[in-house]
Symmetry: C2
Subunit: 210 residues, 2 copies
């Protein structure tokens, strides 16, 4: 790798980005250092700092890539999915979070791995908190929609239903990463549906009807 020419900057940044990814997959966030990424690129640490001045910038970049990947996965593939509402969309959003295939497992491994660095760096903590806050806000909207549609009980704040759903999904991710044989995709889906079924019937004072 040579120093960046004006127009090459983005292409080189992509090379660096891929090297960051390979280091994370092999060593986790604890092994993500400027030195390790430079070695992966066959470049000097000094050269790498043209793109990322320090470890924190590498970590922030890796998290941005994860967010972009997640956003791409969220795009509805069919017209039917684009017009779905309420509980069906909530279920799809939760399924998107789970490690149901190789890419989902790899992304989640890196995301879960980021929590160590994120909990010790105040700036990263704030970014992570905001990321999860946005996700909860979106889920709160979906839960409110499901309540309006009579799909979820109306006797509990939508924000609480959303917090329950996000807690459940995040915890299932962690368990499935550590014990993939006990949590194959079909069991993850079944547990999610069991969780949603409990929310649907749980504590509803009267049948809502529709």
């Amino acid at each position: 790798m040579t120093p960046p020419a004006r127009g090459d900057h983005e292409a080189r940044r992509r090379d660096v980005s891929e090297a960051v990814w390979r280091v994370l997959a092999a060593r986790g966030f604890g092994g993500l250092t400027l030195r390790a990424v430079a070695a992966e690129l066959g470049a000097s640490t000094g050269l790498l700092t043209h793109y990322f001045p320090n470890k924190r910038a590498l970590v922030a970049h890796a998290l941005d890539v994860l967010d972009r990947q997640a956003a791409e996965r969220r795009r509805p593939a069919t017209e039917e999915a684009a017009t779905a509402r309420g509980l069906a969309v909530l279920r799809a959003a939760l399924l998107d979070v789970l490690p149901l295939d190789g890419a989902g497992a790899a992304g989640n491994r890196i995301r879960v791995g980021s929590w160590d660095a994120a909990l010790t760096d105040p700036g990263l903590t704030a970014e992570h908190a905001e990321r999860y806050r946005r996700a909860r806000r979106r889920m709160t909207e979906l839960c409110a929609e499901a309540q309006e549609l009579g799909e979820l009980p109306a006797d509990r704040p939508a924000a609480d239903l959303a917090a329950l759903a996000q807690s459940f999904a995040l915890g299932l991710v962690v368990q499935a990463l550590f014990a993939p044989a006990e949590f194959p995709p079909e069991r993850q889906r079944a547990l999610l549906d069991g969780f949603l079924a409990a929310l649907v019937t749980g504590e509803r004072p009267d049948p809502v009807g529709s």
Copy 2:
């Protein structure tokens, strides 16, 4: 710190253990290196290896300390707690997991931080998987007991109820660590009770009565 005399070994190991703890609290698992712990002790890295030969041993030790702390918290404080059964014990076990006070938050911060290293080291992955398997087995027994007592619906495997409960608790831990202001202890408790209430009434085909 001087090289260990025969009888001093355990006391020195305790000093090292406390230094490990301080490094973890300040820098997370990503910052837990032999060099950092040696600096915290005012000792050489070579001397430290009398107690812990490598980083992996430091990490494994930190996790053992967390387990011991968790086991101590689990001991029932009152005779009433010692004779409790079923849902009440499940609820107490889940409350023990949550970051409801400073010690719970510090321990959870370190435990969550350990997942990065644990997901990239096959030996640690196996140990973590076994740790969570044991916890699920214990919760499965409690769920089965609650089913026998008619406190939880009998139409779903106790192992699935336990997986739901553990997922929910782990995910709530993560959310509460990142957004403590949104998840103060009383909201964590209320969400846990809302979750349990949903399990209790969810999908039960007929009232069980007691």
